[in-house]
């Protein structure tokens, strides 16, 4: 049901753009106003969310240690899974963000009831397809920078070159265009087919998947099927960037407006959704802190010095006679 509603919501967004820009011809609204508003919401929302998180302190250093601590010199420690200093923690974070190291650990249990055994299998598909999706998305995002930069920098051309290195078809196929579909399809199907994951899934888990699929499909349709006029599109995007928005003379395709509207929706939705894991992962105290709180002091800003233990004096007052009788030393004689 959650999946269905999410799908319908994205479909509705497609129709809004198709009718609004395609049929009614509200080009300025969909080509200029909506992207600006979306970007504003994105920036303001993103900053708001980070500030909201950052306002709360991290009172304790609670790294989840995933390897041997550094203790005795002759015991080999795991500097990345159990970092004791800043450099190790930075490497841990890089591995987490770039290679999804924790997800790579994933296993799958199987209970053999006859022999009463829990067995563990490899479960790397989630890691693999999640990585495929994120990497493809990131590459596509970089590639799109060519629409906002004149002249197009060499590094972007290089990425385009590498992304189309297989030289299939005309216009040449970007591998990431396929990979993002593969990644999204896996993540979506897994959510629907895997009973456990299905059970925990909410509308806000399906919505971004459908939205991203809509964006990817409309983009692919533009590039490979209707071969949209990139020069006109760049006229619009450069205009937006220079705050002198101008609609190109040649009318843009409806698909472009659908694509742009879905992207705008993604941007506006982003800061208020789980997609903020992009920023949140950097703020996760079980990952971004070293395991060194036995080595050096870590400060809790709201630590209350007024909280004192039940004092020894009160303890001795309570038990003095019994202590003396048992031959235990006391501070004050009875």
């Amino acid at each position: 049901m959650a999946a269905f509603y999410s799908f319908m919501a994205v479909l509705a967004l497609v129709f809004i753009a198709a009718i609004g820009a395609g049929s009614v011809g509200m080009y300025t609204v969909f080509g200029v106003a909506v992207p600006y508003i979306a970007l504003l919401i994105f920036l303001a929302g993103f900053i708001y969310r980070i500030v909201y998180w950052a306002k709360s302190p991290v009172p304790f250093s609670i790294a989840t240690t995933g390897g041997q601590q550094k203790s005795l010199p002759w015991i080999k420690n795991s500097p990345w899974d159990n970092p004791y200093n800043v450099s190790g923690t930075v490497i841990r974070m890089i591995l987490e963000v770039v290679t999804f190291r924790s997800l790579f650990r994933n296993t799958k249990i199987d209970l053999r009831t006859d022999s009463v055994k829990v067995v563990y299998g490899s479960a790397k598909f989630l890691w693999l397809f999640a990585l495929i999706f994120h990497m493809a998305f990131f590459t596509i995002l970089i590639r799109h920078m060519r629409l906002f930069l004149e002249p197009v920098p060499g590094c972007i051309k290089m990425i385009e070159f590498l992304d189309s290195i297989l030289q299939i078809g005309i216009p040449t196929l970007y591998q990431t265009d396929l990979l993002i579909l593969v990644g999204l399809a896996f993540l979506l199907l897994r959510r629907i087919v895997d009973a456990k994951v299905n059970y925990i899934s909410l509308a806000q888990d399906y919505f971004p998947l459908f939205l991203l699929l809509g964006i990817a499909i409309s983009g692919i349709y533009m590039r490979y099927f209707i071969k949209a006029d990139v020069i006109s599109i760049k006229e619009l995007t450069m205009g937006l960037l220079s705050f002198k928005p101008k609609l190109p003379e040649k009318p843009l395709e409806t698909t472009f407006f659908v694509h742009l509207f879905l992207v705008s929706c993604l941007f506006a939705y982003f800061p208020f959704s789980k997609l903020m894991h992009l920023a949140g992962v950097f703020l996760s105290p079980t990952r971004n802190l070293p395991n060194n709180t036995r080595r050096q002091h870590y400060t809790n800003p709201w630590n209350d010095p007024a909280i004192k233990p039940h004092s020894y004096a009160a303890y001795e007052d309570d038990f003095r006679e019994k202590m003396i009788e048992a031959g235990l030393p006391v501070e004050k004689e009875a």
Binding site: V58, L72, N77, I200, Q204
Partner: protein, 539 residues
């Protein structure tokens, strides 16, 4: 007490998901799956709100009239105090990688025991009460209002979490259910929903210095009694120093080990080791507890109980503190102690008086783990060990959750173990070290009334023990945690009968060749050593 079904019944676990959404599945408080509530006099002693007689099976939990406002205020305060709480409420993508990492989910098949859903129990209220989208879209967006049934559900499932942090290892964002459980338990405590097995030890620890409520003279008695046993076994008479001012080292270990089998053998092991080394140290009756059930109650209680360690170290004028084998004690020492009650400038960085090793890993807290201390002794050849005395034991090692994922203490105990016992084999890698499984009774859930759930949660550990028992004829599960020593024996009896549980320093004591000892014919349990089985029978 509920009757525990046999293993072959219990293992028939249904992992299929209910037809109804989880918000519509009602709570069922079945005996064996929940812990008894905190007794009113204990709550009164601790100054906790809403002391009363109640039971989770009652329809009316006698919550205070403004319970909703209390919880919402507490929720807001904790969001402001802990960034972890905010971030963990916001960024979960429900990928499900954590689902089958939880021992309680593996053992029960209850979807609300998947770490992701456990957190959603709280997250749903966060969305429903604090976010606009949640208020509008409600159930569709996984949001709901705070109702009395929600509080009951929290009590059920946040007291079915042992804060072992296994899920947090696998989470791509490091979302730590222990952190979420701590928050939820604090919120529950604000309206008087606690469990007695946590509060009574916390209250005892405050007054008598230890969880069991052992008063100083009784503590001394028990120690003398154990020393008599040591004399029987070794022929050596030891009088361990207690509350001694001016000693170099203060030794603190969980009180469970002075009280019950098999912990007492480890306790005796400490006494023998320190005697043999001629260590200038002292025990303390005021700080006679290493564990800290405050960790399972609130940050205030944790700080209050932990504060005794430094207070006693200061009073006695020691140079540094040595800590015994314990699980959650070491999470507190490693990740909280110095922040809460430090810096301990009046102490010095621990230096082994025997080997001269300076332990920089403990330069901040000035508190050293006994496994680090003993490993260093063995490495420097300072102990005379006869591992053949443990030749009848085929051992494996259970990594306790907290020293594993809250510290990373893996090699030190294994090094010690391999030096005192030649037969050692590890369990499968998915069940040890950072991936270790809980004993099913951590975070204050090691009570009798919770036995069915403990056995369910103990299934992954039990299965791994059974595996090495069948494959490698393992007969002894060694561990460095006092709660493990209480929870693992029933777990092994249930899932892997024939495997006994021992502490690391029990085995050290078996192997330790002491100066002036009589010919050793029996081990710490006063059972014949290998080669002396016949002598026993002749007598």
């Amino acid at each position: 007490m509920a009757k525990l079904p046999p293993p072959e019944e219990l293992v028939k676990i249904n992992y299929s998901t209910p037809v109804k959404g989880w918000m519509d599945v009602p709570n069922e408080f079945r005996p064996g799956t929940f812990s008894y509530p905190g007794k009113p006099d204990i709550l009164k002693y601790l100054g906790f709100p809403n002391p009363r007689e109640w039971s989770p099976v009652d329809p009316d939990w006698k919550l205070p009239p403004d319970w909703r406002e209390i919880i919402m205020k507490g929720f807001r305060e904790r969001l402001d105090k802990y960034r972890s709480f905010k971030v963990f409420m916001d960024i979960c993508v429900r990928c499900g990688a954590c689902a089958d990492k939880c021992h309680f989910y593996i053992g029960s098949g209850d979807p609300k025991n998947m770490p992701v859903l456990r957190a959603e129990l709280l997250r749903s209220v966060y969305r429903g009460e604090f976010t606009v989208a949640g208020k509008i879209l409600s159930k569709m967006a996984g949001a709901r209002k705070l109702e009395e049934d929600v509080v009951k559900e929290w009590f059920m499932y946040f007291y079915q979490c042992t804060e072992c942090r296994r899920c947090s290892l696998f989470c791509p964002y490091g979302i730590d259910t222990a952190e979420i459980t701590m928050m939820a338990r604090e919120l529950l405590s604000l309206v008087g929903c606690n469990i007695n097995w946590i509060l009574e030890p916390a209250a005892n620890c405050n007054r008598t210095g230890n969880h069991l409520g052992i008063q100083p003279h009784a503590y001394k008695d028990m120690m003398d009694f154990l020393c008599e046993d040591i004399e029987t076994i070794t022929g050596i008479h030891i009088e361990p120093p207690v509350n001694k001012k001016g000693a170099e080292i203060l030794f603190i270990t969980p009180s469970g080990d002075i009280f019950a089998d098999p912990g007492i053998y480890t306790y005796m092991g400490y006494i023998m080791l320190f005697h043999e080394l001629g260590l200038d140290y002292t025990w303390s009756t005021y700080a006679s507890e290493g564990g800290n059930f405050g960790l399972f109650t609130s940050d205030v209680m944790m700080k209050k109980l932990n504060g005794k360690m430094y207070a006693e170290a200061k009073r006695l004028g020691v140079k540094w503190i040595l800590g015994g084998e314990c699980g959650h004690m070491w999470r507190v020492i490693n990740q909280y102690m110095d922040t809460m009650n430090g810096p301990a400038d009046f102490l010095e960085t621990p230096v082994s008086p025997i080997t001269g090793t300076r332990f920089d890993a403990a330069a901040g807290t000035k508190m050293l783990h006994i496994a680090e201390f003993t490993a260093d002794l063995i490495k420097h050849g300072k102990l005379k060990l006869d591992p053949s005395r443990n030749a009848n034991l085929r051992t494996t090692f259970h990594d306790s959750c907290n020293p594993a994922r809250g510290m990373g203490l893996f090699e030190e105990p294994r090094y010690v173990l391999k030096n005192v016992c030649e037969n050692f084999v590890d369990m499968p890698e998915e069940t040890i070290r950072e991936q270790t499984f809980c004993c099913g009774g951590g975070a204050g859930l090691n009570n009798e009334e919770f036995m069915e759930m403990r056995m369910r949660g103990g299934l992954p550990r039990g299965s791994a023990v059974k595996y090495v028992q069948e494959k490698n004829q393992v007969n002894t599960l060694v561990t460095i945690c006092a709660i493990d020593r209480a929870t693992l024996p029933p777990l092994c009896d249930y899932w892997a009968p024939g495997v006994q549980v021992a502490g690391l320093h029990e085995l050290v004591a078996n192997a330790l060749v002491m100066e002036g000892e009589q010919e050793r014919t029996m081990d710490m349990r006063q059972e014949p050593l290998p080669g002396f089985e016949d002598a026993e029978e002749e007598e």
